[in-house]
Structures are given as structure tokens and as C-alpha cells.
Symmetry: D3
Subunit: 133 residues, 6 copies
């Protein structure tokens, strides 16, 4: 399996509901450095997994609506805990949509799998990895 | 698949037996920066894989008996080479036990897989990844 | 000149006032990975710059009141922009106080200089470095 | 599954053919920091996945003919785009050959899988992972 | 002293003249991850060293003419070895010019010092640090 | 001021004497990733600070007698605590000697300053920086 991974980041505020979160129930924030990997079985005729320029752009397009936001105020996240794990899956879903729409080019439809990893500090990170339907 | 990974470290002395180890047959030491990843298929009702605070504590509890030790003198390691690979598996087993005992909470029993990665220098690391029985 | 540096981190929310901040004028957040370096001309009789255990504890004590907070709501920061640069200086001042109070031990009074570096993402960091009066 | 990973690097020039590459169609270059992981199901009698010394040497032997080269002038790469993905597979194939030849020792024949990851910058990397036939 | 540092990168080809360079006399290439630090004695009225958005843009503007180039073919570099050290100084000079021109805003004229660090691999980097005239 | 920095590492065992070291009074060990920076005011006729190949070799020659050793058994370290700080200065002194002897070439005599940084974990490092006499 081949993979290409690109990196970007967001800086957000949020709070969590649930005793398990302890002091993180208060409004706080995070920098999430985001690594998004695209997997495919074989390379296209150019010798690549995806157009890395389009990959960076597509990731940026997904992250921009989240960047410099208080996620507690984002309509589609109302009532959910925007944990690192949750956000990894959110970004996964959006990139899956982007690939289906052709935002990464026709060749990128051969991408079979994505992994979205969010680094939240030097001692913690989370990811979601899954096949494209 | 979702995953959450936490990081800690130990500083140990040890020696190896076997010509394959060359100069590392002598008593020497290592800092092992330990990344432990917890995998599960879906998030719990709080939107998390595990309670990251408990995850850090459980990892610390596993590492403390090894930290600042000469592993050649640790009873349970007598007669084995405490290689990076071996220690990865040792930590894997201990964390599997901790999850079964409920040290990471009831919800953590849904964790299906662990990966334990030990970074021994800027040019070498080892890991063990396996399913929980 | 000798130096020892320890690392910890905080996860905070805040907003900025001033057109220069663009979208960062909105409430958002950051993980700041904090490196704090202690400088001194010669080592103490133990061969160290500072007791690294006390150094980690003192840094933790300075960071805890900031961690998991919305800095806009912190009384002493009212009316100031809690920029990365500003926070570096804040932590510098608190650690200078801690050394003067003897929190790092008597020997640590020989520390002549501190540097506080905050990593806010994989592409940006800021620091303050200065002599102790 | 156990794994051991070693790191080395190359510094090469090359150009790409195809509009998808944009400005990278011009002759340019890259540092590729190469991580090569060896996987096996169980450890050998010494408690290791591979002889890490031999692993470093075998990787160096594969990289040396590429290092400080203009890949456009390398005979076996004529007519192909030497993308990061392509080079990951090239190194994978060479290491698979080395293991079959016994360059990493007899015990290394138990290695079942390799992953070759090339870091091309702080925001992009690619890898190939596959089973040994 | 306060500092803010921003990061970007270039991917270039070049060759060196001189026996000291050994195999690097051949046409090869490098990724240079570039960290550029701005120093000033006190913060401006917004609490910052420089407008970090303008800092990123100014660095990008300096790097773009070098990116995806064979530096042997760049007119102003004819007859010089474009070593990592040399390029650090080149970028330093260009950023000093940009500050003088006001590209980073009027407030940035209070910047007194720059450091330009180029990471060429995981085991080597070079930098130039100097005062602004 | 120009600088070039090279990286290598050692894996050692040692113990400390003094209550300040707590559990580190026991025999334990460390991986020290060593960054050694060479500073000089201007570049030589080749456009470099030092021959980076010779720099790597000279650092390796200094580290080899320490690597895979129990430092408690090294004759010249008898009666001293081989702290990270102490080892940074030890390596500094040896490299200063090497430069004086001409091991890095005649041109390297223009190096005026060295910094030796030892990373002992992901949360602690120490360094010594000083002028050459």
C-alpha cells in the first residue's frame, strides 16, 4: 500500500461536558497539528498517490471553517464533545466527501483509505483511520 | 478505527547477551520515549477512546518499576535480553492487564488493540502492536 | 555558559484585540508547549545547573493556573493581549520569582538567565530570554 | 506484530514530467529522511526483530547509489518520475532483495513485512508498506 | 530579548566546487526547512514582536524565487557555493531589506536582530544570526 | 555569526551521588542525542563554517569511547557525577582540543565558539556553550 501525508494546523477553543474531562470541562483551547494520509494500492500514471498541491488545498479548505473558532459556537457541533478523536473523524468525513466530489482530481478516486491524525501536545495525539466506502 | 496515543519515558541500564549485540553486550543504558496507542472501533458516549488522564496514569504506573533501574537486576527479566522490542511487548502486556482489571475505567474495555512504540534514539525505534484477547 | 531546559504544556483559550490579529481576534485557543531553560556560569557541587525535579515542579506550578483556562477571564490579564510573546514573559517573571523565593533550592540562586520558549504550532514559536536581576 | 525501524537520509536532484507537478517540473531537489521498518510475528532467540547494525548497513547500501545524485541521470530511473512514493517502493524492493539474499542474516528471513517512509519536508511525507513475497 | 520564529521550506538542486565537498560536488539537492527568528527588546502596543502573518508572507516571498530551482542556474549565485550557511545569510539579507522597506509594517522596524536556521537533514543544520544595521 | 550543527548519539549507563538525584542515584542509563554547533564570524573560501564530514567524524571519535559504556567505570570520570551538563562540557573540551590539533582541517581554526547540546528525553535537555580560548 502506498500513502502520501500532508500537514496543516488549526487553533481552536472549546469545552467538554462530562466528569471524565476534569478541568477540561472549562472553556480552553488547543492547537491541532493535522496529518492527513491518503492510501492507494498502486500509483497513477504520474507516479503519485494524489496531487499533493490539491491535497494541501483540500485539507486547508476543510480546516479553515474550524480555524480561529470557538467550536462550542459552531452549529453543526452543538451538543457534541469536539474531542480530538471526534475532530479526526470530522476531517476524515469531509476529505472523503472532497475526494468523491473530485476536488482532488479524477485520479484521486483510486484512494481507498484515509488516516487523520491530530497532535494536541508533545505527549498526546489521536487519529481516525478508515476505508472510503 | 479510532486511536489515542499518550507519551512518557524511562531511563534504564541493561546489557545484552549474544554476539549479534556487539558493543551493546557491555552494560550501557537508554532513554526510551514510550508512545502507547489505544484503538477502538467507535467512541464512547463522551466522544473519546479512553480517559486520557487515566491512560497517562496507567502508563506511568507500568513504567515506574522500570525507571531508573538496571534491568539486569530486575527479577522478572532474569535470563532474557531486555531489547527495545521485548520491552515494547512487556509494556503491551501490562497495559492489556490494566485494561482488563478496569484501571482505565469500564468504558476502556471496548479498546480492542494496543501499539507500544519505544524511541531509543533519533535513528531507531521499535514497537509491538496487537489485539487484546 | 551551562543550561538545562525542561518541557511542559498548556491548553488555553483567548482572543486578541487589534486589526493586526485578523481572524485571531475571535475567541480561539492554543496548545503551548513550553521549554524553560536555566543558565548559569558554572555547575554546583553536584554537577548540575538546577535540580531538574524541582525545575519541572516549579514550571508545572506556574502553568497550572493558566491550563484549561480562557485567558480572557483571568483577572491579571484583563486588558492585555495574551500573545505567545506576552505569555513567554509572564512565565519568565514567575520563574524568576520562584528562584528568588528559593523554590528551586538555594543552589539555584546561581542561575543568571532564563529563556522561555512557547511552541504554538509546527510553524511558529516565540520566546523571551533575559538575565535575572 | 513486532517492528524495528531505522533512519538514514539522501540528498538528491531530480525533475518531474507532467502538468500535475507544476513548478516541480523544473530541476530541483530534496532531502529524503528515510525510515525503514521491519515487521515480524515473533522475536528471534536473541529477542530482536533484526540485527539493527546490519539493518543500518543494508539501508545505507541501498541509499548510497542514490545519494548526491541527479536521479534524472540514473539509468534505471530513465523515463519514470522519481516521486517520493516511487522512491519508497524502490527502497522497499531493494531491501526485500537484501533480506532474501541473507544480507541481514539468516534470522531476518522471518521478517514478513516492510514499511519505507520518506519525509520530504516538515509538511509532507510518503510511504510504501507491503508484505514480503 | 523577545523573539518570534516562523517556518517554511524550499526544495532545490545545486552542486559545489571544492574537494572539501566530496560527493556533494555532483549535482544533487536538498530540502531546507527554514526557521526565521525576529528579535526585539520590547513588544509593540499589540503585545507582539512582528505581525506573524506578514512574517510568513515575507519569508515566502524570499523563498519563492529559490524554490524548485537549480541554484547553479540562478544568476546572482553564479560562481559561489550555495552552501546551507551561504543560503542562511542570503535569506537574512533579504529579510533585513524587507524590514527596512516596511514590508512587515512600521512597527517591525523595532526588530534589532534576525536568525535564519536551515535544517538540511535530521543530523545537520546551519544558521546565520546578526544584528540589523 | 554563522553556525553549523551536527548530530550523533550515545547510549550509556551511570549512577549519581547526592540526595538531589533521588531515584537517579541508582544505576540507570540514558540515550543522549548530541547536537554540536560550530560558530565562526565569516565563512571560509569554500563558503562553509567547517567541513561537515570531518565534523561528523570528529564528533563520532569523541563519542565512541563513551558509547555503550557504564560511565561509573570510566577512569577519567571517577568521583564525578556524569550529569548531562557535565557530559556537555566534556564533549565541548574534547572538540576544542580536536580543533586545536587540526582534526577538522586548518580552516576550522577560525571557529570561535562551540555549543554542545544533549537531549536526554522528550522533556529535558542540557547544553554548554563557550568560546574557544
Amino acid at each position: 500500500m502506498f500513502a502520501v501525508e500532508v500537514r496543516d494546523h488549526i487553533m481552536i477553543a472549546h469545552s467538554f461536558r462530562g466528569a471524565v474531562f476534569g478541568p477540561a470541562q472549562a472553556l480552553h483551547g488547543a492547537t491541532f497539528v493535522v496529518d492527513l494520509a491518503f492510501y492507494r494500492k498502486s500509483l497513477d500514471q504520474n507516479g503519485i498517490v494524489v496531487d499533493i498541491g490539491l491535497a494541501h488545498e483540500a485539507l486547508k479548505a476543510i480546516l479553515t471553517p474550524l480555524n480561529y473558532r470557538n467550536l462550542d459556537e459552531v452549529q453543526e457541533f452543538k451538543g457534541v464533545n469536539t474531542t480530538t478523536e471526534f475532530l479526526a473523524y470530522h476531517i476524515f468525513s469531509r476529505m472523503a466527501d472532497a475526494i468523491r466530489r473530485g476536488d482532488l482530481g479524477e485520479d484521486a478516486r483510486a484512494v481507498t483509505r484515509l488516516r487523520v491524525m491530530l497532535h494536541e501536545s508533545h505527549v498526546a495525539r489521536a487519529w481516525y483511520e478508515g476505508d472510503l466506502g
